[in-house]
């Protein structure tokens, strides 16, 4: 498909494109009952052209992939290039791709009834009087081809399976919502389903009673699910685009110790069986594991082709593109931690309680599992302030109950200078692997 589109361009034109076809099948259980089954199919193409001569760059995308649709993509990409900026873009040439375990034949072949069975099992185990249990099971089969006029031509297929479960428990005016998700290339085995159910049950079990929140600058354990607020500013700051635009607080600090020396961040597009993995990125650059932060030092920013070209850098293989728009910088799988991060990726979830064993020694503090409104605000500055969605109070090393009507705030760059500890509960959550992390001096306010 890509070759057919590239062939339509005039001589001397340079271009790259992606063709993607995705098939999704899913079932959803609402309030414990199977209510709907759905299937979707989507195919589309995204094209970038560099005009011969003036090297102006243009983009176009379409979900119409018949003859007329393909011609229209080429025409629109060239029109877009008439207005585009000149760009010295070096497309990657052909390269051998490593084979990654991201396509699971059993998952691809699983009939709908198998997905129903999985959902049914989760529902049965979570269902109790007074709980509303919603479960979704979704299987995705994708094919993707990336190609360019420099000869790169990579194709791969993948499967993705997601089992999501949420439990809502309402008692009077108290609304408790607990959610978790299994996400991988293959169907979950019994151990993985146990882990999903166990994680939800553990959080439900500790949710009573509701206790008053402490107040002040306190130690807070951010669980793997609650850690997003801490990582989001770093993800933005480690993007080459933020560096190029002059808004990254980490720009110019390569090699400098900015964080606690036990903090490491690794981007790993080759992690086996993970939905964020791919043999090459959406611009044809071969995938490689990359240390972004090592022992608290900034090592590397991530780049796509255009940002790299403008910044005088090389692409790190982090070009991401949809059917519409232009490629942009995106992470694959982010692995967070201390020493544990090094052998993560193969890490399955260990049997660990909420808080990952970090409670001992906590006289008074919180476990934060979910915050409300993460990503809204002036994220890249590192400052955050959010009401808690799901949080627990810890006193003298024990969880004493759930906390509501409280808010946590702080500055990520200050807090990460000194990490109180990493939990023993490292796990995948979507495309991120991390343990719980204990940070001291988080501002906690309550109503």
């Amino acid at each position: 498909m890509i070759a057919r589109v590239l062939g339509r361009l005039g001589p001397g034109a340079r271009a790259d494109g992606i063709w993607r076809r995705v098939e999704q099948t899913g079932v959803s259980f609402e309030a414990g009952r199977l209510k709907a089954a759905g299937a979707s199919e989507e195919a589309g193409i995204n094209l970038r052209v560099l005009r011969a001569g003036d090297k102006r760059v243009g983009f176009a995308g379409s979900t119409a992939v018949d003859e007329g649709g393909l011609q229209s993509v080429v025409t629109r990409a060239l029109q877009s290039a008439e207005l585009g900026e000149p760009l010295e873009l070096a497309f990657p040439g052909p390269a051998p791709l490593s084979s990654l375990a991201i396509f699971d034949a059993a998952a691809a072949a699983a009939p709908l009834t198998r997905l129903v069975e999985i959902g049914q099992r989760v529902v049965e185990r979570l269902q109790r009087e007074g709980r509303q249990v919603n479960v979704g099971v979704q299987r995705e089969i994708g094919e993707c081809t990336v190609g360019n006029t420099a000869g790169a031509d990579g194709s791969y297929a993948y499967t993705r399976v997601a089992v999501s479960a949420d439990v809502t428990r309402i008692g009077g005016d108290d609304v408790l919502m607990v959610y978790d998700m299994f996400h991988a290339a293959a169907l979950p085995d019994a151990v993985e389903l146990d882990a999903l159910i166990g994680s939800i049950e553990a959080r439900l079990a500790l949710a009573e009673p509701v206790v008053e929140s402490p107040e002040g600058a306190l130690p807070v354990i951010f669980t793997p699910a609650g850690l997003g607020v801490i990582l989001l500013p770093l993800e933005q700051a480690l993007s080459g685009k933020a560096v190029l635009q002059g808004i990254s607080p980490l720009a110019g600090k390569t090699g400098e110790r900015v964080f606690d020396e036990r903090l490491s961040l690794i981007d790993d597009p080759c992690a086996p069986g993970r939905p964020g993995s791919r043999p090459l990125d959406d611009e044809g650059v071969v995938s490689q594991r990359l240390a972004l932060v090592e022992q608290g030092r900034v090592r590397q920013f991530i780049y796509d082709l255009e940002t790299a070209a403008r910044a005088g850098q090389s692409s790190t293989g982090h070009g991401e593109r949809g059917i519409f728009g232009k490629p942009a910088i995106g992470y694959s799988n982010l692995i967070v931690g201390g020493d544990a991060a090094r052998d993560a990726g193969r890490g399955t979830r260990r049997e660990a309680g909420l808080g990952g064993g970090l409670l001992a020694g906590l006289d008074d503090g919180l476990i934060v599992d979910d915050l409300i409104g993460v990503g809204q605000g002036n994220v890249i500055s590192g400052a955050f302030s959010h009401p808690v969605g799901l949080a627990y109070r810890v006193r003298k090393g024990e969880v004493v109950g759930r906390v509501k009507n409280a808010a946590v705030a702080g500055d990520v760059y200050e807090l990460l200078k000194r990490i109180g500890g990493f939990g023993n509960d490292g796990r995948w959550l979507g495309s991120r692997w991390s343990p719980s992390i204990l940070l001291d001096g988080v501002s906690v306010t309550r109503r």
């Binding site: 199977l34 309402i170 306010t445």
Partner: protein
């Protein structure tokens, strides 16, 4: 196309079937700093078939290859039959509608050359960059679309709509050493090219605010009397109450139904809230929802008391209430679910000055970076704020994030001004994996007697 849809539907074996088809033409321009990111036009097309069989559940098939429609109708039927249900899904009765509605295109964006759109946005982006050397980065985005939308169901509804949309947004980042601040404004309307004009002033304000915030202190955390401006007031009611009024949250949950019993008091008599999908030209406005039900103005809270909720045909049937036209899908890629349209707090009386009077120490929270709800508890993030001291607006403060609680915060609203305004922002609402859904919110200035603002406790 009409005949193809009618023929395809006739072949359905299901007890109930509906087809949505969309053909969307869109274009977008984006500037980042001084550079054009892209100027491009796109074509998106596809459809969704949704069917129901007695004794079975929903079968849903969505697709981009429109020529596959007959196969997709069969596929949806198969999917439905996999789902066995003891208690059948009922749909509330709605009279079938036939209509061909071309919404006001307001300067058809398809007739405007991309180069002209680029010129317009370049000028807006330039307004931000010209404000100060402190403005180190900008993001200016223009996006428009015209979608030809078809809906047909086996009960005799046949609708065609031509739906326009235009969104213009600006972000400015100001920096002084390690201090990085952000300004944000957007305009989103179910209109066209004409409504994207004359926004230079708005873009200037974005950059000026980012620069001013460099000198602002972070708000000190704690509980305060808080006044919300119209924009944040709108986001507040969307998060604080709008999502709770979506009937899919309560219809399968007896405890939730009890909590949200019609007639329950949620606020003081000053509080009136509604959702109006039929308001003119707003982003959440459409003549019919994605089940072919006409949209309407639905009162949700009247004088502080819960009087209504938002429905799909399924939730209305289950709760024995009237349909409201709130089943919406972001595109053919999804089945419709219960969503808001244009949600508002109705105007009361008086002005901002009346609300300020009597507040010794409080916060005036303005603009919106966003909001999110977990139903009982929710957040709404102001773009900026001011301290209120001795009844007057005092110094600018930053990082103003409010922590709300459904049962406490609504009841703390003690004064609503008369200066109502629709927000007309870009962005959108997310739910059930469907984001961004075009919605609008509206409100006057609103005073909350006591609200929790997160922040540093040691400052």
């Amino acid at each position: 196309l009409k005949d193809r849809l009618t023929d395809a539907l006739k072949r359905s074996r299901s007890d109930y079937a509906e087809i949505r088809l969309e053909h969307t033409w869109s274009s977008s321009v984006a500037f980042r700093g001084r550079r054009l990111e892209s100027a491009t036009a796109a074509l998106d097309q596809g459809g969704c078939v949704r069917v129901l069989n007695r004794g079975h559940g929903w079968g849903i098939a969505s697709f981009t290859s429109v020529e596959q429609l007959p196969a997709m109708i069969a596929r949806a039927d198969e999917l439905s039959r996999v789902v066995r249900l003891a208690e059948p899904i009922q749909l509330v009765e709605v009279a079938p509608h036939s209509a061909d509605v071309e919404l006001d295109l307001d300067g058809d964006v398809r007739g405007v050359p991309l180069s002209e759109k680029k010129r317009l946005l370049e000028a807006y982006n330039g307004e931000m960059l010209a404000v100060s050397d402190r403005v180190v980065d900008t993001q200016a985005v223009y996006r428009d679309e015209v979608s030809e939308y078809w809906y047909i169901n086996s009960e005799g509804s046949l609708l065609r709509q031509l739906r326009p949309e235009v969104v213009v947004s600006g972000v400015a980042i100001a920096r002084r050493n390690g201090n990085i601040e952000k300004g944000l404004e957007s305009v989103g309307l179910r209109r066209g090219w004409n409504s994207a004009q004359q926004l230079a002033g708005k873009f200037r304000v974005v950059a000026e605010r980012a620069v001013q915030l460099l000198d602002a202190e972070r708000v000190k955390g704690g509980t305060y009397p808080v006044i919300l401006d119209q924009e944040l007031g709108g986001v507040f009611i969307h998060e604080a109450f709008g999502h709770l009024s979506e009937a899919d949250f309560v219809y399968e949950n007896p405890q939730a139904r009890e909590m949200m019993t019609l007639g329950r008091r949620f606020g003081r008599p000053v509080l009136n809230v509604g959702d109006n999908g039929a308001a003119s030209g707003l982003r959440g406005t459409l003549p019919f929802d994605d089940e072919g039900v006409p949209t309407q103005d639905t009162p949700l809270i009247r004088e502080g008391v819960l009087v209504g909720r938002l429905h799909s045909r399924e939730t209305a049937a289950k709760l024995g209430e009237r349909p409201t036209g709130n089943a919406r899908a972001i595109s053919f890629r999804h089945a419709p679910i219960v969503r808001m349209t244009n949600t508002y707090i109705a105007p009361g009386h008086g002005t901002l000055d009346d609300l300020l009077r009597g507040i010794d120490l409080g916060v005036y929270a303005c603009g919106a970076f966003g909001g999110q709800t977990m139903l009982e508890n929710f957040s709404f993030t102001a773009a900026y704020g001011y301290m209120i001291r001795n009844g007057r607006i005092a110094e600018l403060v930053k990082d103003v994030v409010l922590a709300g609680n459904l049962f406490e915060t609504l009841d703390q609203i003690d004064h609503i001004a008369g200066d109502f305004q629709w927000n007309q922002m870009g962005g959108g609402c997310g739910k059930g994996g469907q984001f961004p859904l075009p919605v609008t919110e509206g409100a006057p200035h609103v005073r909350i007697e006591r609200a929790l603002i997160g922040g540093d406790v040691t400052a």
